[in-house]
Amino acid sequence: MPFHKMKKIISLILAATPLLTFAQTEEFSVTGNAEAIFQYLNKDTLIGANQPAEKALLNSYMNVFMRYKNFKGGMRLESYLPRIQGYPNRFDGTGLGMRYVGYENDFVDVTLGSFYEQFGSGMILRTYEDRALGYDNFLDGLRIILRPKEGILLKGVYGKQRLSFEDGKIVHSQGIVRGADAELHLNSVLKPLKDKKLDVSVGASFVSKYQKDDRDDLILPENVGAYGGRLNMRYKMFTLDGEYIIREQDPSVDNGYIYNFGHAALINFGYSRKGLGITLSAKSVDNMSFRSDRNKQLQDVFINYLPALNKTHTYNLVATLYPYATQPLGEIAYQAEVLYTIKRKTKLGGKYGVTLNANYSCAYRPNQTNINPGDSSRVVYTTKPYDMSDSLYWQDINFSIYKKFSKNFNLKLNYFNITLNNDVAKVTGDAHGLIKSHIGVAEMGYKINRKHSLRAELQGLFVEKYHGQINDKGNWGTVILEYSISPKWFFSIMDQYNYGNPTPSKRIHYIYGSFGYIKESTRITIGYGRQRAGLFCVGGVCRFVPASNGLTVSFTQSF
C-alpha cells in the first residue's frame, strides 16, 4: 500500500476516535432497533394464496437514534426485497426511509428532516409510523418546539409527508403541510389556579396544506386550513377532555369534490379509583378526510388521525374478521367502558379477586340534510355535530370476566356481539348489509412450574343468518395452544377452522405453527402454515392482507 494511502486511513481512524470515545460516555448515546421478516410462500389455490415470482420476500429495517449533548440525529434504513404480503406494493428497494438531525435544550427543540408529531388528539394533525400496517406519514421538513415558560408549549411544523418508498428512496406527497399548536397548562400559567385540585390545560391548533389546483373544470382551494381548540381537565379521580376541529373546504377524491367544511369533535370522560374505571367517549366526524394530496385514497398521506371509538381487540377471530375502520367522511360514535375488580378475599372475589369488564361502542351515519346536489357552490348538505341518523355502521357489545383460581391456573371468559355494516365499512365481498356475529372466547393459563407454562384459547364465532341464508363465510372456530419455557423459548399452534362456510369445499383449517427463541434483546421467530385473507386494523386504520401459505421467519433486535 502506498504511504499516502496509509496516511489517509490512519487520519480517518484518528478522526473517528473521539466519536468512539463519546459512545462510551454519558453524553453520547446510541439506541435503536432492527427487524427483519422473511417469507417463503407457496401457492395454495384452496385459500387463494399466490406464490410471488421471487417465491421469497424480505422486509427489513433498522432504526438508529443518536444523541450527543443537546444534539440529536436519527435514521431508519429500510429494505424491501421485495416487500412482504400486505405491505403497499409500491414499497421497493433499499435506502434511507427516515432521517433527521436536531438540537434540543430546555427552551427549544428544533428538528430538520423527518419527524413525527401530533397536535391534541391528532384529529387535526398526527404523523406516525405503524410498521405492522406499513403506515408511515411523517413530515419531512422543519419542526420547532418552544417552551418559553413553564406550562407553555408552542409547536410549529412545516414539511411534506412521506407517501411511499420506491427504489430505495422516500417519495413525498404533492402537498406542503404547515401547522402551529399552542398548549397552556393553566395551573402553571395562572396564579389563581396554582395548587388547585382542578387541573386545566387548553390548546389551539392550526394546520394548513398547499396543493396546486390540478383541475380545469373546478376552482380548487389550493390552501386548505383546519383549526380547532381543546380543553383537558382533571379533578381528583375525574377527567374530562374535549376537542373540536373545523376543516375548511377540501374537495377531494374521498368526498367527491364537495366544498363542505368538515368537523371533528371528541369528548372523553373518565373516572378511576382503585378497582373501578369508567370511560365514556363521544365522537362526531363529518367530511374530515384531510390529506396532503387530494387525489390519494386508502391510507395514503393522511394529515390527521381520527381515533376509533371501539375497543382494540386482540383475540384472533374478534380482531381480524370484522374489524371496524374509522369513517372519515362521517360518523357519530360513542363508547362506554367499565372495568371493575371484585375485591379479593370476598365471597364473589375469592382468593385472588375477579375482574369484570363491560364495553359498548357504536357508530352511526350522521344526519345530513341534502341541498340541491347540483348547486354551484358544491356544498351538498348541511349537518350538525352529534346529529346522528339511525343508520348503523358498527356496534360492539362485549363482556369479560377474569378469575385466577389458583397460583397456577387462571381463566378469562369473553363474549362479543359485533354488528358491522358491510356496505359502509366493507370487510368482505361475500356479505351485504349488516353482519351480526356472536363470539365467545375462553382463555386459560396454566403454570406447570416456575419455567414452564401453557396458555390456551378456544374461540367460536357465530354469524347470524341473513334472510335465511348463511351470511359471509359463516361460522368459525379457533384453537390456540402456547407453550412457554421461560425465558428463552416459546411454541404455539393455531387452527382457525371455517366450519360454517356455505361452500363445503371452503371449510378449511388454517393451521399455523410457530416457535421462537429469545435471548436478551434478540428474538427469532419461525412460523409455518396458512393465514387467511383479511383486514388488519390498528386503531381504526386498516390494510388488506392477502391469504398466504408458507414459512415466515422474523428477527428483532433492540439496542
Binding site: P148, A182, F206, Q249, S376, R378
Partner: protein
Amino acid sequence: MKKILYFLFFSGLLVASCDKVENPYPNLPSSDLDWSLYPGGDSATYASNGLWPSFAANTNTNRNVLIEDFTGHLCFNCPAASYEAEQIADANPGRVYVVANHTGPQIYDPNWNGNPPSGFNQVYTSGLYKHNFCFDEGLQIGSYFGAEWPSSNFFANPSGMVSRKAQNGQPASAYTEWSNKASTILTANELKVNLQSASNYFPSTRGYFLHVEVDILDNTLTPDDLAVVTFLVEDSIVRPQYFPGGVDSVNYVHHDVLRDCLDGRFKGRDLSDAREENGKYYLDYTYKLPDEPQYNTDNHSFEANNMHVLIFVRDKNTEEVYHIIKEKIE
C-alpha cells in the same frame, strides 16, 4: 410573552392563507338567464354538465330564406298563399323557412271596440272559429310592416315577405311573387351573416335554453346594424279555415304558426348587446314554454314536440333578413 405574540402573529398569517371558494366552477360568460328553469341546478352546474355549448367552426356557406305569411283563418284567399309558401319550402329543404303570422295591419286599430275589423278577421273568435292564433308581438309585426311602414302596400291578407327584402321600398308582396323572390336570394346566396345555435329543453320546468352564435361575414356590417330575432313556431294545428265560396274546412292543418318571440321583442335583440368572443357574437336565451297560447279561447295546449324556434338576423336599417336557421325543441 413577546415570542408568544410572534407565534400568534405567524399563526394568524397562516389562517389568512386559507382559500375560500364561493363558486367552484371556472368563470362562465355573464348571463341573465332564468336558471330556475334548469332543474339540475344553476349556471355552473349547467356548464359542468356539458350543456353550455362550445361551438365548432361554422361550415355553413348558404344563405337561408324566411317567408312570413300574413294570414288568417277567416281569410278565404289565405290558404292558397300558405300552400305556396309550403311548396317553396318543400322545394328547398333546409333553405327556406315559413312562418304564418295570423295578423295584418288593420288588426292594430286602437279604436277597435271588439267588433270584427273589416278585411280579414283572424282575431275574430266565435262560432266555429274559436281558436285565437294571435299574440302581442305578432300583432306588432303586422302593424309595423302594415300601418306603420311608409306608403305600405300591405293592406290586406294574404300578403307576405321574403326575408323582408324590399322591392321599391316595400318588403311585403303578394304570394304570387314569393317564389321568384326566394329564388333570387337563394341563387345569389350572399351569406352576410352566419348563424349557429344549440339548445336544451327540460320538460319538468318547460324550460328552454337557446344559445346562438353570430358571425358577421360582410365587413361592411357592424353589430350596431344587426339584431337577432327568435320566433317560437307551432306546426300542424288542426283548426277550421275559411275557404272561398263560404266553405268551412273544419280539419284544416295550419302549418308553422308564429306563437311568440322568445325574448318578447318582435325586433329582437341588438347584436351590439351580445357577448363577443374572438370576433363572434353570442346570445343566450331562456324561455318557459307556455302551457297554452297567449289568447287561449278553445283550450289549446302547447306540446313541445310540435314546436320549434326560428332564429334570424335582421338589418336594423333595411329590415332585410340576412340569414335564418331552425332549432328544435327537444
